[in-house]
């Protein structure tokens, strides 16, 4: 064995890991080779010194910090594990909340509906009362009072038989053009009632005042009242009819036909 082979066994020798044969061979070489012997003893010495190197102790703060960090990590882990669980709880809570709010709205709406119907009933009552008052006021003779009465009848759409009759009477027979106009306008509000349209067409045949005729033509044409066609034709054929009224009647006829 040469020096390089012996050198390769140094580590196992100082660790006491060599088998007997190798150990004897190495010791035999060392006795003869001063260089190897010197190196081995130095390395052996250093190895002993190095093995004796003391460890520094752990400061207490290290453990404290570790425990703090560990708690942090555990919290993070818990948050991650229960994160989805919490979410579902949140969702349940939210849905319950939405259900409660929905129910409350429902209750409130029902209540306000009840109130609304009561208010409507009351309004109808007042409307009827106003019509009665208006009919009574027709008894007055001055024009302004009659118009006032017609306007006062308000916007009540539920026609009162007597009231419509009163309006029709005013439209046909009143001496004052303005009263007749107001009566016509008041009747327009009850266009949904069949009688009203008949009354208006009948009135168109009897009227001789252009203003009232035009207003009636406009209203009947706007409401596409086909039964007014005959009356319109009569107006156009009649020589006594006002020229402007004729023009309106012709236009209306074109639209209706």
């Amino acid at each position: 064995m040469n020096c390089a082979d012996i050198k390769a066994m140094f580590i196992d020798y100082i660790d006491n890991n060599l088998d007997n044969t190798s150990k004897l061979e190495l010791e035999k070489h060392i006795k003869k080779c001063k260089e190897c012997s010197g190196k081995l003893s130095q390395i052996k010495l250093l190895n002993e010194k190095v093995l004796k190197v003391r460890k520094v102790g752990t400061p207490a703060s290290l453990f404290e910090n570790f425990m703090f960090n560990l708690e942090n990590e555990k919290n993070k882990l818990n948050n991650r594990m229960f994160g989805s669980f919490n979410m579902s709880w949140l969702k349940i809570a939210a849905s319950i909340l939405i259900f409660i709010i929905g129910s409350l709205f429902g209750v409130l709406l029902t209540k306000s509906y009840l109130v609304n119907t009561k208010v409507k009933d009351l309004e109808n009552e007042i409307g009827k009362l106003k019509q009665v008052v208006a009919v009574t006021m027709f008894g007055e003779h001055t024009t302004s009072e009659k118009i006032k009465a017609l306007n006062y009848s308000g916007e009540n759409r539920q026609a009162n038989q007597n009231f419509v009759k009163a309006l029709a009477y005013a439209l046909h027979n009143d001496d004052n053009v303005n009263v007749r106009l107001a009566a016509a306008k008041a009747l327009f509000r009850y266009k949904d009632v069949e009688e009203v349209n008949e009354l208006l067409i009948q009135s168109l045949n009897e009227q001789n005042e252009p203003m009232v005729q035009i207003v009636l033509i406009k209203f009947l044409v706007d409401n596409k009242e086909k039964e007014a066609v005959e009356s319109l034709k009569y107006l156009i054929d009649n020589d006594e009819t006002n020229i402007v009224v004729k023009q309106y009647a012709e236009k209306g006829l074109q639209i209706l036909l």
């Binding site: 390395i43 190895n47 520094v56 290290l62």
Partner: protein
Amino acid sequence: MLNLFAVKELSDEILMYKVKLDNLDCMTQLFNKYNNQILNYFFYLTGKMEDSKDLTQEVFLRLIKYRKSFNQQKSFKPWLYQIAKNTLINYSNSNQHNVIDFDNINYQEIIQLENDNNNSKKDNLLYESISKLPFEYKEIIVLSKFQGLKYKQIAELFSTTEAAIKNKILRAMYKLREIYFKTEKNI
């Protein structure tokens, strides 16, 4: 008899496996067992106690962070030191403004600590010699001689053979001898 069973310690691998399964409390036992070794590993490789404490803390945080990558079929110790080494590499990379020459560490803190304990001057010489060892030699001496890791474990850590590790240790010891005895002659 019952106590014997109760006291029986769990192996590092089982403890780490439990940590892997999110039983983080088991990390406390691993910390108690290894914190001093890891602290000394860093202390002898950096020469700085404060940094070594931070690095040790970081290692155990990393063990938790990377617990899922632990392979319970393999031993725990090489994995622990692998993480310690990676932590050290990160530390040297992130410490750009305060570059550390790992081949020539200032062992002043270590020598001071030894002097406080009334050790002889010759031991200071040993520390000074070790501090001047190239990093890879210093590291292998710290691992095999200071930390008492088996050659097999060191081989696993460096992904090499036991023979290669023994060879490296021999070269490290030769280098140490060169520095140590040359210095002694000068004195």
